[in-house]
């Protein structure tokens, strides 16, 4: 969680005039991403609108994304909720109970190191595991839908494990579609 200044981070800060970039940096740190070398390609892919951390009013979607953390990460081929992910989901559950007006969709994703059909199923399992954890923390199942994108919607693109670990994720989206 410490924010060391790797070269990539320095580059990010040089771009900090764009408020969305600030939000992106914060969101990644809050989400417990262990690797700071490879950032997702654009803020838009994290579902962030304009406006950074300072602009996030409590109860807004920016508040959820930036201050709570909208995503958790998984180990390779795994669907178990890691300890760092549990912390994120605990915060999500508290926030969602405080702001009950939001229906949510949980998107399950896989990294590219698998075949297409299996990854669709794996993403579905991750979304279901995330939904079940949130339900166990008091979020009504009726508010939650799930959808799997398999390996078709990566946020990080490179050819090593640092990217793959960012792509193995479940993202809690306020509103959104799913089944």
């Amino acid at each position: 969680m410490s924010r060391t200044h790797t070269p990539a981070m320095s580059r990010m800060q040089s771009l900090a005039r764009n408020p969305a970039v600030i939000a992106l940096t914060l969101a990644l740190a809050l989400a417990g991403c262990a690797n700071k070398k490879n950032m997702p390609n654009s803020a838009g892919e994290l579902g962030l609108g304009a406006g950074g951390a300072g602009a996030a009013t409590p109860g807004s979607s920016q508040d959820f994304t930036v201050n709570v953390g909208d995503r958790i990460f998984f180990d390779t081929d795994s669907t178990s909720i890691r300890a760092d992910a549990q912390q994120t989901l605990d915060r999500q559950a508290q926030w969602l109970q405080r702001y009950p007006r939001y229906a949510i969709t949980i998107e399950g994703h896989a990294d590219e190191r698998g075949t297409r059909e299996y990854n669709l199923a794996l993403g579905a399992r991750r979304a279901a595991a995330t939904r079940d954890y949130l339900a166990s923390r008091g979020v009504p199942a009726s508010r939650m839908k799930t959808i799997s994108y398999g390996k078709e919607r990566p946020v990080a693109v490179c050819d090593d494990i640092s990217c793959w670990s960012q792509n193995r994720r479940a993202v809690t989206v306020l509103g959104g579609a799913g089944s």
């Binding site: 997702p40 390609n41 654009s42 892919e45 081929d77 669907t79 590219e112 190191r113 698998g114 075949t115 297409r116 059909e117 299996y118 669709l120 199923a121 794996l122 579905a124 399992r125 979304a127 279901a128 595991a129 959808i147 799997s148 994108y149 398999g150 078709e152 919607r153 990566p154 946020v155 990080a156 693109v157 490179c158 050819d159 959104g176 579609a177 799913g178 089944s179």
Partner: protein, 435 residues
Amino acid sequence: MMKRSFIRVLLALAGMAVMFAAPAQARVEININRGNVEPLPIAVTDFQSANDIGAQISSVIAADLQRSGLFAPVNKAAFIQKITDPNQMPRFEDWKAINAQALVTGRVTREGDGRLRAEFRLWDTFAGQQMTGQQFFTQPENWRRVAHIIADAIYKQVTGENGYFDTRVVFVSESGPKTARQRQLAIMDQDGFNVRMLTNSKDIVLTPRFSPNRQEVTYMSFEGQQPRVYLLQLETGQREVVGNFPGMTFSPRFSPDGQKVIMSLQQDGNSNIYTMDLRSRTTTRLTNTAAIDTSPSYSPDGGRIVFESDRGGRQQLYVMNADGTGQTRISFGDGSYSTPVWSPRGDLIAFTKQSAGKFSIGVMKPDGSGERILTTGFHNEGPTWAPNGRVIMFFRQAAGAGGPQLYSIDLTGYNEQMIKTPAFASDPAWSPLLE
């Protein structure tokens, strides 16, 4: 002249014996000769025609034969005899002199009703005799198909097995950056020509598969953020959802009689295999595990189904009877196995294998024995069979930000070829032979 001709096509079959039926006129010997492919030198002359259509048809025929890896078209610049009457006996000495063991001559004319008439003769130059001669009629815009049909006839005459040139491939055309990739269903001739988009790029589409009668495609679409299996009529463009399932349906494929779609249904994190009868609309559950069961593919007789499951830990291949009974694991090598596809001949199952950080395309017998890896690299995935069970197409993804491309490879593991497509391409599915 009466002496039997012997055209030798030397195939490297990597220790695998494949016996082909001998064709009627020329006797073809298949020499099992590991590691040494010796394609048959063949001269494909420009077909006689009033315009350049004859030369165009000849070049498509020559390209098909060359890509198969079993033929080596002789450079036209080396030709000695200029064929002026394709129905006359050629001067075999002129063709033997340039080592063309086979010779193709032909003519294209226009019928009174506007149709093209294409006729060809295949000659055995060393035996000094005609091996076959046929003619075809078609609409002028279908001239490439006529060329593919003639190439199939030549292939069959020389090798004794059916060709695969008059076929199409459905695939997913991919464009845009990897993080926002746009996907469209597309269809093309097997040689990469006549590409046509079948869907717009609004929704993610995946895993298209041909129906046995080639008129329909089943695939998965994220339309309306509801990932489900669809059926598309190629002629009309009409689409419909397959079944009314309570969760994501994916990985569809037709039964060999075209009456059913087999697919996976995802519910609460588990994926099981179902069929839906397209006439009665009844659905049948075939697997019932707390695992990921997917990628089902029927044997050509419809009696059995191969699929992948991680019920034992990692993904492995299993075979079951068509009613779901007798589920038996068949893959036991190092690594994991997925996307099995039963050969149209029934004798082999092609698969994707992940091992030691690499992705390979391989084949094994339906009982799991005789595993052979055809190609290995950073990422190879999703095999599909040519209708003669001789060539496999798949997609390959390089590391990094680029996209996938389609490749074909001979069952021997030789003759790997990229199929050029206008954009990135994945999930190829080969059609049966057209009619």
